[in-house]
Symmetry: D2
Subunit: 322 residues, 4 copies
């Protein structure tokens, strides 16, 4: 590539900073100029970018959020706007864009390269882990740990009061966070979009716990699901079954925070690999990790297909709570 | 005292365990028998208690919640029930009760001793720090730190997206947590029950920040206030003023968690001091800390009077955000 | 199996508790009796074990250390002692043993089943990640995160004082922790047993950093290596090259602590899988994870072969610091 | 004051950043120009300073270390050098200096104002809490919490292996950190410079623990003391008494890290108060906190007198471990 630009887009996720650093340092190592774009596609459109050097990414590996800032850019759905963005890049002598973000952000990258003479590589940056073509996304591990820290605290109160908590974690369309958090916190039940859960099943699980001498307290982890209010609905249903659940919505605390070691390493390697793939001539792909190996997947597939939750893991979680 | 019983009551707070340990170890040190009551006043009424020794409180100093469990006991508002509780204690040869809890719990203790031949000492165990007669309560410092950890994460997202967050912290009647958290997180504004805040003031603070080159992001810390929904109301008003705030309710994560060093030391000292005061013949008091010294206050005063927020601190917080 | 016994052995690692829970709950789910042995092989020899039920492992998933306690048992190297251990198990009607531990512990398990009519399954429980047959060990992820938290703090001081720190992490024979920690903390250099590092190379890296405007501070991560004092030796050599390094030995803080989400899930799955393999008739194997899948490896191989560090990851780490 | 300069000096401590922010924002609020000096007295001498505005201190309240960097400056002990520093300040139109640091740093400030026409105010910034004239120093609370987090992890290993650990915390001349950490972690013994401890006493405490069913594990917290190696000496003595202690030196991890809520509030208030005192005409004082109130103490006293450890707290700690 003549020069690479990098941006972060969509919801921020912990590890975006080491990913940026990976791209920048690997590019410089090969003697390629690299530019940072501020505020995602919104900044790209208006040419808000500047050249980065090795010192630009010093001491960011451990910072949450993204030093390049991020944005959800509706305008980028318009081909004319994407064309404008391509012109901005060409004017600066940049022929390549690395996009770190989730599904929507990678869709924008795909159409940018389809319609314009700009090469793109995507990196999966989202806490939700709901991206086809990679077993893991930048930020997922940290988000799971953040949710766990919160639930460990709630567990103290649940045990002290022998009470039942519904804890809502992020995940609109998928139960990745909920399943991992649920198995790791020893949740009494996990409620996710992929599987129907009967309120009866929850009640009988709680009754069985009491009988086995495990006390009356409980944590039920609930994925937020496609429409708001799901967790409050479930609370109502449980009240009708004689339970007295309290609701906690973990919300935005799951996005930020110091990235975990796992996410720093994943992000560093994906960022550096993006440059390797670019230099090997690849285009219109996402770099991810599958079965422990770095792999590429065409962005067209990433966008079309949806990743399946590992049902065996979910079933294992339910078994272990018994 | 012939023998001491100890219970935790009301919402759990981090540090209740080292407080229990302080009472138990100090009592044993003086050769006094000590009993632990399960589940607060509810457990006391039904005689759910057992003798504790030094090993009973080993390795609990760092645990959140309360090993004795806690409860909110409506029945204890009835003098007949309190009489029954006193009989339970006397039957076991116990003439003294140490109650660790908040306002309601200390009220129960006061009436118990007024009406019955049982001596009581209260310890302020609540995250809210809203108890007259003490500058500090067991759990307040930890709750402030827990809220801060959450807000530091939200700050990452706020900065990355240049967005505005309303973060609701605990505090029904008082702004202690909100004020301390607000000053410590560098909040752009603090909203507490004690002072009226105009939405205009928030808007102009945010505008002033932008003008000074401090960016468009912001954190507003809001005490939950007397009725639920306050934070959502404020969000609506801000929307009408052209802001786009997101709401985070920190909720129950503020209660649990590993107690901070400060709370472990405070709780240990108050627990041990309770025994000192008992041996010196005191009754119907709460042990607290004022201006760095351990002091006692009659429970009657603790219940009647309300603690004032330090207005100077609040004003200082507002000044420092400018 | 007629009944399963489980023990933890060698240095404790975070995640041993969820591993125990996985074994216990999965065994009970299949109607198999399960016993917990106290203090590793030492406890086994003297018959210090008791039956566990579902409540025995309640609320342990988030606890560091091991509720079964652990030990390094020299006596177990003696075949006569192993025979005695087998007799203890048979007497209780137990025909199967699950051992959670590192290399030495798994060696003991292998010889126990070779010489006696006891079936064994091993689980890799060590922070060092130096076990053949698995990409990951129970406790490694947590240890990396713990070391990172410490180094993030040291980084604050290094930056504030523009000083150089040598931070020693665990790893006698292998650089797994050092390499992962090094890449994740943005170390200026990583020193591990597998690769020789020249003091000149460190000095020139630090000089290059200064020239690029990255400041004079630095963190060098050093694996402890086969003999104590390595890090102090390196410090002396650096002093001779005009550097003024300070030494930090992280030591035992890397062993304990609340297990990370990753380790809780890994341990839970390996624990439950051990029971699956036992029920499928396997013996004399270790259950691990390779390329994201749960796999078994004969204990004979686990003991004989040594796991290689991923050199590509190490080289990537060095590149990213430039 | 015409204009204020602020610097941080000596070992960094968590909370120096909110202290700087307090000084800067409070000065600007009163319309006073404020300058930040880089690298302590070393930077002052060479005129390495620049004007700060409100945005200069945005988003630093939660950062460890000091954005102004710090240094130990031997040269500043020379009156000629101090004179030169005064000239630098006057040239820039600055008549006032705020120094955030420990004993040595405050000594420099005192002589600077004695000999030159520069006003100075000191703020106690050190993790050691060993400064006369204040009950608390900026960074002490965080350092105690950091040490506790480490020891809580070591406790997991100690309990799992029933082993004895000597944990060395900072404190050359004073046992403040050791005493607070010791009481808060439930240490079996605390060894500090102020009180002689007999090895016999440790052994009998450990024996007593075993007898009471509290197990064989133990944590002994040791202040580093005036000369290095104290903790290793103690380990040797304990070995001669039949114990098998392991040694952990917590070291530099105690300095850095995200400041606690307590330290952020303390630092913010002291920083802002420094400006209040300056505007009220004070000079040659340190601002501290005593019995919960902000107070000033002449620097001459701060330097001459030494702060006494609260013996009652130390004795209480010992009692509670029994």
């Amino acid at each position: 590539p003549s020069a690479i630009a990098v941006l972060t887009s969509g919801g921020d996720s912990p590890g975006m900073n080491p990913a940026i650093r990976g791209v920048v340092r690997a590019a410089l190592h090969r003697g390629i100029k690299v530019f940072g774009i501020n505020k995602g596609y919104s900044g790209l459109i208006i040419g808000d970018l500047e050249e980065m050097n090795s010192a630009s990414v010093t001491n960011i590996v451990q910072r949450g959020g993204t030093i390049l800032k991020s944005d959800r850019c509706e305008a980028f759905k318009d081909p004319a706007v994407r064309h404008q963005a391509a012109e901005v890049l060409k004017e600066k002598g940049i022929d390549t864009l690395v996009v770190i973000g989730g599904d929507g952000s990678l869709t924008g990258a795909h159409y940018l390269t389809l319609e314009n003479d700009i090469r793109v590589i995507g990196l999966p940056g989202t806490i939700d882990n709901d991206i086809y073509g990679t077993d893991d996304t930048i930020g997922f591990d940290t988000a799971v740990n953040t949710a766990l820290e919160a639930i460990d605290k709630i567990r103290d109160t649940a045990l002290s009061h022998e009470s039942l908590f519904l804890v809502e974690v992020m995940g609109r369309n998928s139960g990745f966070i909920a399943t991992h958090v649920g198995i790791a916190c020893g949740a009494e039940m996990i409620v996710i979009p992929e599987y129907e859960v009967k309120v009866d099943a929850i009640s009988s699980q709680l009754a069985s716990n009491r009988e086995q001498g495990k006390g009356s307290s409980g944590i039920i982890v609930v994925a937020e699901g496609p429409k708001p209010g799901l967790t409050y609905d479930l609370a109502k249903q449980l009240k009708n079954h004689g339970q007295q659940p309290k609701v906690c919505i973990l919300g935005h605390i799951q996005r930020g925070g110091i990235p975990s070691g796992h996410d720093r390493i994943l992000a560093s390697c994906l960022g550096a690999s993006a440059v390797d793939y670019l230099c090997a001539g690849y285009n219109d792909i996402m770099i991810g990790v599958r079965r422990g190996k770095i792999v590429d997947t065409p962005l067209a597939q990433v966008i079309e297909k949806s990743k399946e939750l590992d049902e065996a893991l979910f079933q294992r979680a339910l078994l272990l709570h018994k």
